[in-house]
Symmetry: C2
Subunit: 203 residues, 2 copies
Amino acid sequence: MAKVIAGTLAYTYGSAEVGTSPVSLKELEDLKVAVGFTAEDVQYLRKAGAVLESQTRQIVEHWRSGIIASIPNLARHSRTPAGEPIPKYLAQSNLRFEQWILDTCLRPYDQDWLNYQQEIALRHTSLKKNQADGVESTAYVPFRDIAAFVAVLNDTIKPYLGYGPASADEVDAMHRAWCRSLQLQIALWSRLYMDLAKAKNEW
Amino acid sequence: MAKVIAGTLAYTYGSAEVGTSPVSLKELEDLKVAVGFTAEDVQYLRKAGAVLESQTRQIVEHWRSGIIASIPNLARHSRTPAGEPIPKYLAQSNLRFEQWILDTCLRPYDQDWLNYQQEIALRHTSLKKNQADGVESTAYVPFRDIAAFVAVLNDTIKPYLGYGPASADEVDAMHRAWCRSLQLQIALWSRLYMDLAKAKNEW
């Protein structure tokens, strides 16, 4: 049973509210091969999850307050169109951000996971952003900024992976598995943005 | 003056044949901030270029023969629609692949670089794939496979960065700079695929 962080709202993983991903399990398998994701990575992600579990709050704080808050182009997505903070939105989406760390490490990458990847992507586009929390903020997060910020997520997670009993080699292996997973997720999310691009530009 | 590998065909960097990128220099600057790319990364990429310069052939061999060749879903993009090898295409695109390593490390990320990012993206889509070498192969490389394969490029480049005089910390810094650049490039390339998605799906 996967861990769910207490108090996380609008976290619908595995529920009937989540639609089916347009990506097939066969396409997911092909993508795993393309990123070099193996059964060993699954094991290292489990270990990473065990190390990160007690640190998710601190990590998301680091990303949000330590980095995103000082980049206006990114910070605006948690604020009103006028640039005012929306504390409720930040708090609720931070909890889901924490939960996403756990899901990345601990969930099996099966149909439910694939469906929730699509749900997460939807919540970054104009199709669903702001709805889960009933807020008014930017209409969407541009795909390019998500793709770009992956580099920051990858960089900054590494020290946290080292705060456990793992050797330096194991930390490297956990980090490789994490980076592969994020590249996989970016490839999956890009699908929705390209489907959307038929009608509008959210690059 | 940037180094150009002898014998590289259809390498039009900086020439009038290359169109202007639809991405502005301001958007590029914003993306640099989003990936965490700083002036220090530029310096580390220069150092990386110095270390990699004599190894580009071996690295591209590793990627092509050591990895891509054994993944049919990726290998097909250098082959005929019937799956036959096209040695000329492979040889010529390998040289450009080598040159891309050097350009990633050694070129200033200015308007010429931005324009050539768009040219490289074009050459992976149905708008321009196969044309530079006058071959018949797959019509395009799906965006998702490029985004995914970045994880492999990132993983496998690291040991090559270590074959120089740099300390382990410097190798880490060079590698971080490399990963940031690749995430930046993926974000840039996604623009063309989304523009294309208005008419066709090359996800």
